[in-house]
């Protein structure tokens, strides 16, 4: 049997750890919210992210996708060797959000170079392995999922349908 003092010490330690984890650690894994990066609020307003999804879950995922897209070396550091000193260190170095949206609605198509059908998720994996000089995330990784959801949010804003082509169709922006 532990004495009263010995019982209190573990309880205080656990409570202290929980408070530190949530309030003081700054580690994303302990926080329910996504880090606010510059220009997110402007992006959110400009692309009507709130229109897509009537709850916070989708917006949080889209925001994390935004962070990964524009600050890849910071938010997907596990999957890239690129650092802030590299000239191309983020998805946004090569792509625009619109590129992602058009890429999404044209994914799951046959790629003659690879000789098979390639999904949007595999494109992301190949980007991490190739241009990002890094490692392949799994299909289930939140990094892949949130980039897809980011692309979905932009595609919704542009009101794209399956197979929409950037050069041939001019989708009207959706305003409410």
């Amino acid at each position: 049997m532990l004495s009263r003092g010995n019982r209190i010490i573990p309880a205080v330690a656990i409570a202290g750890f929980v408070l530190w984890a949530h309030l003081g650690s700054g580690l994303p894994v302990f926080r329910p919210h996504v880090s606010l990066e510059p220009d997110w609020e402007q992006f959110r307003a400009a692309y009507h992210v709130n229109d897509f999804g009537e709850d916070g879950h989708f917006v949080r995922a889209a925001q994390n996708g935004y962070n990964v897209f524009f600050f890849t070396n910071k938010y997907a550091s596990r999957f890239t060797r690129k650092t802030s000193t590299d000239r191309t260190n983020a998805c946004a170095s090569c792509h625009s959000p619109e590129d992602m949206a058009y890429g999404f609605v044209n994914s799951d198509r046959f790629d003659a170079k690879l000789g098979r059908r390639v999904s949007f998720e595999e494109r992301i994996m190949r980007c991490f392995a190739g241009p990002m000089d890094g490692f392949v995330p799994t299909l289930y990784d939140p990094t892949v999922r949130d980039l897809r959801i980011f692309a979905r949010a932009v595609a919704h804003h542009l009101q794209l349908g399956e197979g929409a082509s950037k050069g041939e169709t001019r989708p009207s922006l959706r305003h409410r």
Binding site: F52, G53, D55, H57, F58, A61, A101, F104, V105, N106, D108, R109, F110, A112, R116, R117, S119, L139, Y140, R145, R148, I149, R152, A153, A155, H156, Q159, L160, G161, E162, G163, A164, S165, E168, T169
Partner: protein, 348 residues
């Protein structure tokens, strides 16, 4: 070394078989042939949907499909229409052996996703709450309140296999799921659906208790309505109707039916099945049932024995297995008893 070498050889053979299947011409089911011909699916640089032309009066041109894409879409349609390969020459091989992931011999996607996932009336209007697969695709990745997660299209399909088919989960990258996704995406293109828009044909158009006169749900009343409206097709005990190996009407109870974990189980979610019944049943007379009748029927169905899901535990599973053995003969006997208490010939 021999064992590992043998396994490696087997794996290479299986991959080669898959590649052959991907390259093979697809033998469409009659429903898929009609559906895909109606939408003019063919390999070309551009795709223009005749449905959009008919409904909107103008062509919509999008990126076309390669021959590989067309075959994937065709296979996906076949899987939706005939998951277990009852209509295929080589059986489930042409469906990526989809029967590995389901228990029982009846289940296929089209039971819930009627019209091969794209149910329309005679004028071509897509029907409210008809579980359209194209509309599901454009709304994929959204928050799902039943699972509490952002649900990708492939994961939703996995849930269908686990719960609605009382089976097992295919891999997210399995051809079985990818081909159905390809077909769903093609439907979205053919119907000109836009990413992220909520369309009335998506999902079940759920019916809450608030949509009734609030008399309360009653499974006895449900049993009565079931016998009047549903038993002719689905059987007096809900075991479905199979003729010469072809599933004419799916089982709603018993070992061939969906599990307790399915969203179709009224005891789990009390709005989905009533919505499905009211919008899609009885075939040919859709919309003829009152909201309360649909809720009562769904309640009654949830009281019938069926496979336990993962969440019920082994005791419930054993109990349900026992009930599925004991109840059918008892029910037949009860039905055979006339009003004077003397046994009559059962209709089952």
């Amino acid at each position: 070394m021999l064992i590992f070498g043998g396994l490696y050889w087997l794996t290479v053979q299986k991959h080669a078989e898959r590649d052959q299947l991907r390259l093979a011409a697809v033998d469409l089911t009659p429903s898929c042939k009609e559906k895909l011909q109606g939408y003019s699916l063919a390999a070309a640089e551009h795709y223009r949907s005749p449905y959009v032309r008919k409904m909107n009066g103008a062509w919509s041109t999008v990126r076309g499909y390669s021959e590989e894409d067309v075959r994937a879409i065709q296979r996906g349609c076949n899987i939706v229409d005939d998951l277990q390969g009852h209509l295929a020459k080589s059986g489930s091989r042409e469906r990526w052996h989809g029967d590995r992931f389901v228990r029982g011999g009846q289940t296929t996607c089209v039971h819930c996703h009627q019209g091969v996932g794209d149910k329309q009336d005679a004028a071509g209007n897509r029907l409210v709450g008809s579980n359209n697969l194209g509309a599901s695709w454009v709304m994929a990745d959204m928050y799902d309140r039943f699972t509490g997660m952002l649900l990708p299209h492939e994961w939703r399909q996995m849930q269908c296999y686990i719960n609605s088919s009382n089976g097992f989960k295919p891999n997210a990258a399995d051809d079985l799921l990818r081909d159905v996704t390809a077909y769903s995406r093609f439907l979205a293109a053919a119907l000109d659906l836009k990413i992220g828009n909520r369309y009335p044909e998506q999902g079940m158009d759920e019916i809450t208790a608030a949509a009734t006169l609030r008399r309360g749900d009653d499974y006895v009343r449900g049993a009565y309505v079931y016998r009047q409206k549903c038993a002719t097709c689905h059987g007096p005990q809900g075991f479905g109707k199979v003729v010469q190996g072809q599933v004419l009407y799916p089982a709603l109870a018993g070992p061939e039916s969906f599990s307790f974990d399915s969203r179709m189980n009224f005891a789990k979610i009390d709005t989905v099945t009533p919505g499905f019944i009211c919008r899609n049943m009885p075939l040919g007379a859709e919309g003829s049932l009152e909201n309360q009748e649909c809720r009562d029927i769904a309640y009654y169905l949830s009281t019938l024995p069926r496979p336990a899901g993962d969440r019920q535990g082994p005791l419930v599973a054993v109990w349900e297995q026992l009930m599925m053995i004991v109840m059918p003969p008892l029910m037949r006997y009860a039905e055979s008893i006339g009003s004077n208490g003397t046994p009559q010939e059962a209709s089952h």
